[in-house]
Symmetry: C2
């Protein structure tokens, strides 16, 4: 009967420990001047295809790399490596999310100083990753048109933990009768004013606008503060 308070206590300790590491990571990222962007979504929302296209486009004009989390297999790292950007896989075993310590471990012997952007692809999961800060500057939540418009209402916590919503697979919108207005109003019901970007990694639609957003944001974050 007293098991529950003990579990909550242990969970709190894990999260507290994670926050400490995430804070140190964030400081390190800021010091070396790398923009760290993480991606969360349900499995199959198209994180890897979207990231592959992002890396391939950005590496023509800046220095990019990626960390990618999965329970098993290094398939995603292999897919992303096709972009020619440096990629490291984090295999989480049975763990359903990335933690800051895993990011720290993966970066251990990696000189991230020369990078402009580092992307972190989380495990496909709309629940657990929301509790774990990874020290990222920006968290993108991906939502594919095939998943239905109500995901923000059903998984509000993860939408709240993210900074930007990316609606993916928009080339399939008509085939699945996707109601874009409803999706956006559900996103804003959970997180008012959240920026919403629409892309198709397949056709490339929306990718330019998204990349421009990333670069503008990077420039703004790195502009010297005005007196």
């Amino acid at each position: 009967m007293n098991a529950e308070p003990r579990i909550i206590e242990v969970r709190k300790n894990i999260l507290k420990q994670n926050d400490i590491i995430a804070r140190a990571l964030r400081e390190r990222f800021r010091e070396v001047g790398v923009s760290v962007i993480s991606l969360v979504s349900s499995p199959g929302a198209g994180k890897t295809a979207f990231l592959e296209r992002t890396l391939a486009s950005l590496r023509e004009r800046c220095r990019v790399a990626a960390l990618v989390g999965d329970l098993a297999t290094e398939n995603d790292a292999a897919r992303l490596a096709r972009s020619q950007a440096p990629v490291k896989q984090i295999t989480t075993g049975t763990l359903c999310h990335l933690e800051a310590a895993m990011v720290q471990g993966a970066l251990d012997a990696w000189d991230i100083g020369p990078l402009d952007f580092l992307f972190i692809e989380n495990v496909g999961n709309l629940v657990c990753p929301s509790s774990y800060d990874l020290g990222e500057e920006l968290r993108l939540i991906l939502l594919s048109v095939t998943e239905g418009e109500d995901k923000p209402l059903k998984y509000p916590t993860i939408f709240n933990s993210a900074d930007v919503a990316v609606i993916t697979k928009i080339d399939l919108a008509a085939a699945v009768d996707f109601d874009d207005e409803l999706a956006e109003s559900n996103i804003h019901a959970v997180r008012p004013g959240m920026k919403v970007i629409r892309v198709s990694a397949k056709t490339g639609e929306g990718m330019d606008e998204y990349l421009e957003f990333l670069e503008q944001r990077r420039a703004a974050m790195r502009a010297p503060a005005s007196a």
Copy 2:
């Protein structure tokens, strides 16, 4: 440094406690003669649409009901109620999976004796539900064609915890270049011989075969053992 063994111990206790309740549930289901079938999948794989169609079809010839788990909202219960079958929502808050105790709680004041089938729709998640037995007779893992063929390799544990794989949204297979053979061989790489059913809840394709499978299985499970 000694936090990890403690966490593992707590987790083991939770799972052990869950297994005890699940075993009691399974016994109760068997005694009253109800076939309990659970559905797991990633968010947006189409569990609710598939279940709505299942309930609407089955209730013409037998007594069906459903429990549906979600973090927030009662949207799914409302959708399923359109089938006219009795439906109860379990709202899990921040918990990313159903546990046997939640099923037990939801059934507390519910006379399930007259039922033929009880369906349990889990929270959309390909990781955590794999560890929690709900006392079900059959667990279906749904995989939509839009998620990609490699999901079984990336989430092997949940495929291993399930009895039947259901490939959903097959009406979209051509639009997303779904490689059915590859998907099946990935399923069988993780769980050799696993039954694979293909359906579209939208067009109804494959639903008859699936319903027939359920009814045959129910009949077989309830046939008096031969001497």
